[in-house]
Symmetry: C2
Subunit: 437 residues, 2 copies
Amino acid sequence: MSVNASMSGFPEFDTAGRIVEDYVLRTVSEVFELHGFARIETRALEPLEELQRKGEIAKEVYVVSRLHAQEEEDAKIGLHFDLTVPFARYVTERRGQLNFPFKRYQIQKVWRGERPQEGRFREFTQADIDVVALDELPQHFEREIPLVMAEVFNRLPMPEVEIHVNSRKLLQGAGEHLGIDDILPVLQTIDKLPKIGADAVGELLGEQGLSASQIELLLKLTSLQARTPQELAAAHGLGIDSPLFLEGLADVEALLAGAKTTGKATIVADLSIARGLDYYTGMVYETFIPSAASLGSICSGGRYDSLISDSRHAYPGVGMSIGVTRLVSQMIARGWAVATRSVPTAVLVAVDSEETRSESEAIAAIFRARGISCEVSPQASKYGKQIRYADRRGIPFVWFSGTNEVKDIRSGEQVSADPNSWTPPEADVRPQVVAGE
Amino acid sequence: MSVNASMSGFPEFDTAGRIVEDYVLRTVSEVFELHGFARIETRALEPLEELQRKGEIAKEVYVVSRLHAQEEEDAKIGLHFDLTVPFARYVTERRGQLNFPFKRYQIQKVWRGERPQEGRFREFTQADIDVVALDELPQHFEREIPLVMAEVFNRLPMPEVEIHVNSRKLLQGAGEHLGIDDILPVLQTIDKLPKIGADAVGELLGEQGLSASQIELLLKLTSLQARTPQELAAAHGLGIDSPLFLEGLADVEALLAGAKTTGKATIVADLSIARGLDYYTGMVYETFIPSAASLGSICSGGRYDSLISDSRHAYPGVGMSIGVTRLVSQMIARGWAVATRSVPTAVLVAVDSEETRSESEAIAAIFRARGISCEVSPQASKYGKQIRYADRRGIPFVWFSGTNEVKDIRSGEQVSADPNSWTPPEADVRPQVVAGE
């Protein structure tokens, strides 16, 4: 299942890989819709001005212009690098027509002009959910979003997943308690914990002017992990008493209490999760696969209070985004998921001679009307050659219309059958996605 | 159902419009897969060199570059303007792995830097099917492709459709018969028939050096339309006897004979269909909606023998492409199709108080496990307010978890029910797409 493409960083799955990706996208959409998220799509291009509002990431933007554009004729535009910036613009443009809280999902390609490297693509698909409210967003939505994602992962063919959650209020509250004025650079340093470790982060914080006791408390705080409200109680023992800290702790506790996970996805309070982006104000999320830790986070997000606003209102929101292409390419590469065949076709209707092709086409029409995918053999060659045509594609059945017999080409079993009633076994009707060897 | 977006030519449907578009895309995919077409996706970007191979259209290309690219660092790339050029590249790259004949479908956005005008977009979705063979493509695939498209249109909420077919062999054969050496400029003039009419086309052909008798025969030929092989017999009366002409006539006759249309799509032999592109070599197709003729062709294509080739082989193919965005925007604007609601949600589970929210969430989980989309009310406000929340979104049912009662908010009927067994009527489980008023 190659993802080769002649341009580095622009993956293209083969047809079997596409069946895995389609299965993932259908599952994702289904879970999102079960929770009442409505699907939108935004254009791929945004004014450069909008794209550059999001700071650091802007260096990766692809700029777009018409080949024969007159100088200065067109506005400066670029390809979107995520689905959050376009969604913010969409909400602002349609604020008069939307019903708030507005729950949307969006599955689209995004583009980033990064140097391609393992598992990093320049073009890839993201699947986002967000809830955006008018003026006030109830806190329970910060609990809902990661639980929706947990349900997505529970249904996908992949190993166990941990959704790590934290609240900006905890680190910000700790900062208040410690008398640190500007917490953002501290957050950005803490964000480096998984890459460089606690000692190096401690050193960097020292260089940023923090005292040894400030650093000690922050490192103690960020080392805490908990899967139950009881385990999280250790955070109370740190002696941090700022109201913001206690509020954040209550938020995280409530999520752990409500996360009665029965599947493979677990919610883990992880007080080291900082997220570099400046616009998060409440809970933040990152998702890891412990058995494939090198993958990094496959699904991230958080709550933002002032990302979307106009002169009269704020539109606070909370959301998460799955990196679909990276996840699917790993599912395939690591054998978590395999398609049972590479074509939708369940039955190849053989052709005896070009003169009787229309009879085979009539049989095929009967199957299609009954929802069974089939092809008519491209050539009236010897049956052995027609069977090999099916075999090479993984088409499980060949139908002989002259005699109305059907052959399972895997077992070789051949039986008489009526095209108006014969149905392939459930597992053969469509290509299935199953766990690999 | 607005398609407003702040950039002209870049349409964005609202959530109800998206439900119509999703319905169309699902129907299209389903019919394609029933006929054994496998789904692929290609990257949005191609080398400019590839994009400019296709002649005239190249002026509309959007060029893409990294914002902070060093001079000459990157290859020149652009956004694809159709799905044919990328597919040709895909086949050439993977010719060693593909099983021929290779049947693929592809549904993706394309971009054209044209001046936006009514019904013309700069970003829009195309849905393509193609069959590509190694060295030889059996003619029956030229019959299959328009019949697959007819089945798509039969299933879509729209008025009657005519798929107009012709064969390049007819016009080329007529050219041979008339001693016209270079037929391509003649084809391109004939392509203007629907826009400027027969008189003006005759004048232009005269300016191109054709004699009055040549022009007379060509205009007689291109005026022919037929829905049955019998009607097409008139073409034999023109006295054109080149073998190529007779071969083309047989191809078109065979398609008419096999097109036992039972739905709203009709195959019409229309000998004026020329298609401006130089790479077509066999049958060509355009699709019109007679009751909305101003829309122009909504689905076009043809057979091409030398578009894809390498040093050792040719890969002849045949395909058609639906202009999905244009079609869907007209379905909505003309009221052919309407979504019954704008959100996936079938049931709003009311909340009595924030303290009992988890009980409402438990009810919602039961519904979701049973495949019923639901939301939990965002606020524990008065029931009247919660019902208005559902009403504004078109959510048909409100569930009261304290008493286990369900209210159909359209009729006002409220009954006791068990969340483990109660199911909304079939038509309310998901938003439906129905014919407009």
